[in-house]
């Protein structure tokens, strides 16, 4: 459990957090070479605190992700606006000598889709999750963006489509279904009527759910300013339904329930037709991300990446069902 940054981290927390005495346990949860997530247990004023440390040892984590310090600013802004996010306890400073990152509360819940969709303890809450997602997205999308504009990029639908077109073109492995999807989307993925704070990866894995409901929205590294329909579409993307195709919202709910709760909680009323291009875009985007996995495999030989490369066909199947058959 010991890592070289524990001492400087403990010293920094002791300075900033009244009553903080020590880190009692630390388990590395995930992350690659550039970014780490740790579960920390700490003793503060005689009580046990459960914490998460997000850390990039050498600075910036990935070209598409926002810096961790920006992530912390967005999470705190969302929390102050009443959103369900963990409380940020401390943002590392350069002089702390522990890398870039921040410490936040570790909340209880489940993020694994198969458990949330199949296990009995979630049976009661499952039918209410679509509305819970609608309420939460309405809160996020209502956050005042003026102050955030200084730290977040604005990336709307047409910009994203052009970006993914460039990535796909660079792989030089054209596919007729993806070509069809680009052409279908170009006139339909329009610039937003109004720019909002967008989570950018609102789907299973990043939604902390307990038998009582949606506890928190995690993993804000892809957050940006853009089209609120992006988040509504991404949670409905077929790849995140895990076999429960007839329940478009994460495999647990109906789109009408998501949109109704969203409209009731916020000021925007969207229709299923408004969201549909973003659901289609979600499949195209994940399909191209599968192609990116193949590029990763070519450099590291990972069997896992190799098989994800072949999952591009799942997204092509979904694109055919949605574009040619009008399914959702």
């Amino acid at each position: 459990m010991k890592a070289e940054f524990f001492q400087p981290l403990s010293r920094a927390l002791a300075r900033a957090w009244p009553g903080f005495s020590q880190i009692t346990d630390a388990v590395r949860l995930s992350g690659g070479a550039s970014q780490e997530t740790w579960a920390l247990d700490a003793e503060v004023a005689g009580a046990a605190e459960r914490l998460i440390l997000r850390r990039a040892p050498g600075g910036h984590s990935s070209p598409t992700a926002v810096p961790l310090a920006t992530e912390a600013i967005v999470i705190e802004t969302v929390r102050e606006a009443g959103g369900k996010v963990p409380r940020v306890r401390y943002v590392l400073k350069e002089e702390d000598g522990a890398g870039q990152g921040y410490v936040m509360d570790r909340l209880e819940g489940e993020t694994i889709a198969r458990k949330i969709l199949r296990e009995d303890e979630f049976a009661v809450i499952r039918p209410q999750l679509a509305a819970a997602c609608g309420q939460e997205l309405a809160r996020i999308h209502r956050v005042e963006t003026r102050a955030l504009a200084a730290v977040l990029p604005t990336v709307d639908g047409p910009t994203q489509l052009a970006r993914y077109r460039a990535i796909y073109d660079a792989y030089d492995h054209p596919d007729p279904v993806f070509e069809m999807a680009f052409r279908w989307l170009e006139p339909r993925l329009k610039p937003p009527a109004e720019i909002a704070l967008v989570h950018g990866d609102f789907r299973h894995g990043n939604l902390l759910i307990s038998p009582l409901g949606l506890e928190a929205v995690l993993d804000w590294e892809l957050t940006h300013l853009g089209d609120p329909l992006e988040d509504l579409g991404w949670i409905c993307t077929r790849s995140w339904r895990f076999g429960v195709t007839a329940r478009p919202v994460g495999g647990f709910g109906q789109l009408a329930d998501l949109l109704k709760a969203y409209a009731t909680s916020g000021e925007r009323a969207f229709t299923i037709e408004d969201v549909k291009p973003w659901i289609v875009y979600g499949s195209l985007k994940w399909g191209i991300m599968c192609m990116t996995m193949y590029q990763g495999f070519r450099s590291d030989g990972s069997v896992e990446r190799a098989t994800i490369g072949r999952r591009a066909s799942e997204t092509q199947w979904d694109l055919v069902r949605m574009i040619l058959h009008g399914e959702l």
Binding site: D175, V177, M180, F182, T245, A246, R310, E314, Q316, E327
Partner: protein, 122 residues
């Protein structure tokens, strides 16, 4: 040329070994990756068995659809260019029938379990 066992039989044998003998002895990440590896061999086995017929059918449809000549890859590139430049309508029934048939064959090789889910209303 030694052709017994066939490559398909060899791949199936390795896959069975992974699934039935190796996997139960493994734990954690290694177990997960062994399962992924066994699934990858499933793709290989299905493509060995069904690929040649599927690829021939695809090439024949591409030739008829594009009026071009060349390998399956070259014909696919030609069709992609036609779609991209609007030389073929997205609702052209010959195009939609081709895409439908191609992805049906492809998903049967890559992920045959994926198409089972019942869709939401259109």
């Amino acid at each position: 040329m030694m052709d017994q066992p066939s490559v398909l039989e060899l791949v199936e044998a390795v896959r069975n070994f992974l699934e039935q003998r190796a996997l139960p002895e493994l734990k954690g990440h290694t177990r997960f990756h062994a399962r992924v590896a066994a699934n990858a061999l499933g793709i290989v086995a299905r493509e060995l068995a069904e690929g040649p017929t599927a690829f021939n059918r695809e090439a024949a449809r591409l030739t008829a659809l594009t009026g071009g000549k060349g390998s399956r890859e070259e014909l696919n590139r030609l069709l992609c260019r036609m779609i991209r430049e609007g030389e073929i309508a997205l609702d052209d029934p010959r195009l939609t029938a081709h895409l439908e048939a191609t992805i049906t064959d492809k998903i049967a090789i890559d992920q045959p379990g994926y198409t089972g889910g019942k869709a939401a209303g259109s």
